[in-house]
């Protein structure tokens, strides 16, 4: 039948020449390309030992920040949990006692702060909602794990390392 669009190209198959028939030049050409790549720069990296540079607005795992004196910034105001569209954040507040002034910035602090990383969609709304600049999504990727409970990150994983004296 005649083609309607008339854009069809009919291929002609020519018989192979002698050079093509013995295949050796083609094999040599192919191997040349292969060996050339040994001396080229590698495109892959050794993840997780090596990491690619991330964009400035990359959003990774959360971290709870400390201020310049090493005190926890979070006051458990709950605005991150309110802003969270996936309802991944829960917290419990507690009152700062006498003698804990070097640990917490304000009179209220988060005694429990949990983010369910399976629920989290890494949208960064918690970061935007935070009035105390306490939470930032500046961490690496979320790593794989076996149990669901291990994806609920508590303060032990979220809070930044204390300042070195």
């Amino acid at each position: 039948m005649e083609s309607l669009s008339n854009r069809k190209k009919v291929l002609e198959q020519k018989p192979m020449s002698f050079g093509e028939k013995i295949y050796l030049p083609s094999i040599a050409k192919g191997l040349a390309i292969t060996f050339k790549h040994i001396f080229k720069k590698r495109e892959t990296i050794f993840y997780p030992e090596e990491l690619r540079p991330m964009s400035e607005n990359w959003r990774g795992l959360h971290s709870l920040k400390r201020d310049e004196n090493g005190k926890e910034r979070c006051t458990a105001c709950g605005l991150c949990a309110l802003a969270c569209p996936a309802e991944a954040i829960t917290m419990e507040a507690a009152e700062r006692k006498k003698g804990e002034e070097n640990l917490y910035r304000e009179e209220k602090y988060a005694a429990v702060y949990e983010i369910n990383m399976l629920r989290c969609i890494f949208c960064g709304l918690c970061e935007e909602a935070c009035p105390k600049e306490a939470i930032y999504l500046d961490g690496p990727f979320l790593e794989a794990d076996y149990l669901r409970k291990d994806f609920i990150f508590g303060k032990d994983k979220l809070v930044e390392e204390p300042l070195k004296p």
Binding site: C77, G78, L79
Partner: protein, 335 residues
């Protein structure tokens, strides 16, 4: 006696009893034209006239004397006259003045809303959100006070107080002996109990409800949770001291706090006693009436979608439902 006078507020006319204040006339109309009030409380005699947030412009004094009033006047303290014309949100002058008042109220108010238990139901927060400017121009040290425990159930953060005097009127009018008042004058004024004497009156807990800011807070609820994560439920009980009509604030199965019911103006419907407020925190002690309706402008109703108008396919339509059942049976008859 019940002489009716006509007053026009922002172009809306209403007939009210003579002697009604402009603020109450506006509340009868309702809606956006109601001036905000931080210190006036309709259930407390003598309250009002202190915070100046309810300032309005009277563009026509009355039918007899149509001259406008020379200055903005406090609507909570000014009675209506026949034929009076009042401008509230239609007057740029009023809005500008209100912005200034909010700035004044915020001079000494700390910005500790992330810590404050009142956040989310704070009148000053609402007011400054609507009328305030973003930044403060105040450069000096703000006045600070230590926290004071008024009894073992109420905490006074004097730093947050805006000196509305509502709690003083509660102490004066609801309780039989006056136990707390204002000490000092002007900038040095502060709410205090005389020699920090514990209030042990049955109705003293109402100072928490009348406080428009977080100066007087419930110690039993202190830092327990944020108000917008709790679920308000109306309940009542047989109480021999008060009406027993309250709002329970639930988190899960637990009653975190008990407050009086607040109406559209943020005023309590009826004062409740301390036993209801502080002691009865078990569901078994209450008869539940149903969820409390919270204005959808409030942060408390955020993430609660029951007020949304459902789309036509979800909306209950008995005819459609019946047709669907019939259709389903016809299609699946042969299986």
């Amino acid at each position: 006696m019940s002489e009716r006078v006509k007053v026009t507020i922002d172009g809306i006319s209403i007939e009210v009893d003579a002697g009604t204040t402009i603020l109450n006339a506006a509340r009868l109309i309702g809606g956006d034209i109601v001036p905000p009030a931080m210190c006036y409380y309709s259930k407390l005699e003598g309250s009002g006239g202190k915070c100046r947030t309810c300032l309005v412009k009277v563009s026509k004094g009355s039918d007899k004397d149509p001259r406008p009033m020379p200055k903005l006047i406090a609507s909570c303290r000014t009675g209506v006259m026949d034929g009076m014309e009042v401008q509230n949100i239609t007057s740029p002058e009023v809005m500008e003045a209100r912005k200034g008042i909010v700035e004044m109220l915020l001079i000494n108010h700390p910005l500790d809303c992330p810590i404050c238990d009142q956040a989310g139901e704070c009148k000053l927060q609402d007011l400054s959100y609507e009328h305030g400017s973003e930044a403060t121009r105040y450069e000096f040290e703000r006045r600070t006070f230590d926290k004071i425990d008024i009894g073992d159930k109420i905490q006074l953060h004097m730093t947050r107080c805006i000196l509305c005097y509502r709690c003083v009127y509660v102490a004066d009018q609801l309780t039989d002996q006056r136990e707390h008042g204002i000490l000092g004058r002007g900038d040095a004024a502060e709410i205090s109990t005389y020699i920090e004497k514990a209030i042990d009156n049955d109705f003293s807990g109402n100072v928490i409800d009348v406080c428009p800011v977080g100066a007087l807070t419930d110690k039993t609820f202190r830092f327990k949770n944020r108000v917008w994560f709790t679920k308000p439920v109306d309940a009542h009980c047989d109480c021999d001291k008060c009406s027993g009509k309250v709002t329970l604030w639930y988190k899960g199965e637990e009653v975190l706090r008990v407050t009086a019911r607040k109406d559209v103006n943020g005023e309590v419907e009826s004062f409740i006693c301390n036993t209801c407020r502080f002691e009865r925190k078990n569901t078994s002690e209450w008869t539940i009436e149903g969820p409390r309706k919270i204005s959808h402008h409030s942060v408390i109703s955020s993430n609660h979608y029951e007020l949304l108008d459902p789309p036509a396919v979800i909306r209950k339509n008995p005819a459609l439902k019946e047709a669907n059942i019939e259709e389903f049976e016809r299609v699946t008859r042969h299986y």
